[in-house]
């Protein structure tokens, strides 16, 4: 059993196994209880590179193309937000790959486009810095 905190616009702000509504809810926010295990919800959408997720990954510039593994169990597709550009990825067996180029320096910020369904944090958020 987990609790979701939703912002006033319905997007998921955070989730936890134990939440005290008196102390965490801000103005307009609401609490939703789901009969789901924490780990299961946290892995609804996992973005990773070379087995690493939930952290900032630093790669050198011009080090070739990078593959970001996308895992979204039980889904046929998922929309991702890549630096503000939304890309719909079809999934095979709940998985897909996203290719990134390292020609230019900067940062890729990849997160779910639908923040009512997925929480843009933890393993559902991947930052790759090209330096």
């Amino acid at each position: 059993m987990i609790s979701l905190v939703r912002s006033a616009d319905g997007t998921i702000k955070t989730f936890s196994e134990f939440i005290d509504p008196q102390s965490v809810l801000g103005e307009g926010e609401s609490l939703e209880v789901l009969n789901t295990a924490f780990d299961e919800f946290a892995k609804k959408l996992v973005l990773s590179h070379a087995g690493r997720s939930g952290e900032t990954i630093v790669v050198p510039r011009s080090s070739g193309d990078l593959a970001v593994e996308v895992r979204c169990p039980g889904e046929n597709g998922v929309s991702l937000d890549i630096n503000g550009t939304v890309e719909m990825l079809p999934l095979i067996d709940g998985q897909a790959a996203l290719m990134l180029g390292t020609e230019e320096a900067g940062a890729f910020v990849i997160k779910p486009a639908d923040n009512r369904k997925y929480c843009p944090a933890g393993q559902s958020l991947l930052v790759i810095e090209v330096v």
């Binding site: 180029g101 230019e104 900067g106």
Partner: protein, 58 residues
């Protein structure tokens, strides 16, 4: 945050215009530490005037 573009099935970062401008500005500052030829000075002054023009347009 950099904008991205999709090309040949992969996403690539677009150069950050602000970062490029900052780099160019730093280079111009560095160039003030060495003797400059007329042409180099002309380029430097042009860069400064362009920046002023952009500021005035804001």
């Amino acid at each position: 945050m950099n904008m991205v573009a999709k090309s040949n099935g992969k996403f690539i970062l677009r150069a950050d215009a602000a970062a490029i401008a900052r780099n160019r500005s730093a280079q111009d500052r560095e160039s003030l530490n060495i003797p400059l030829k007329d042409e180099e000075l002309r380029v430097l002054l042009t860069n400064i005037l362009l920046r002023l023009e952009k500021l005035e347009q804001r």
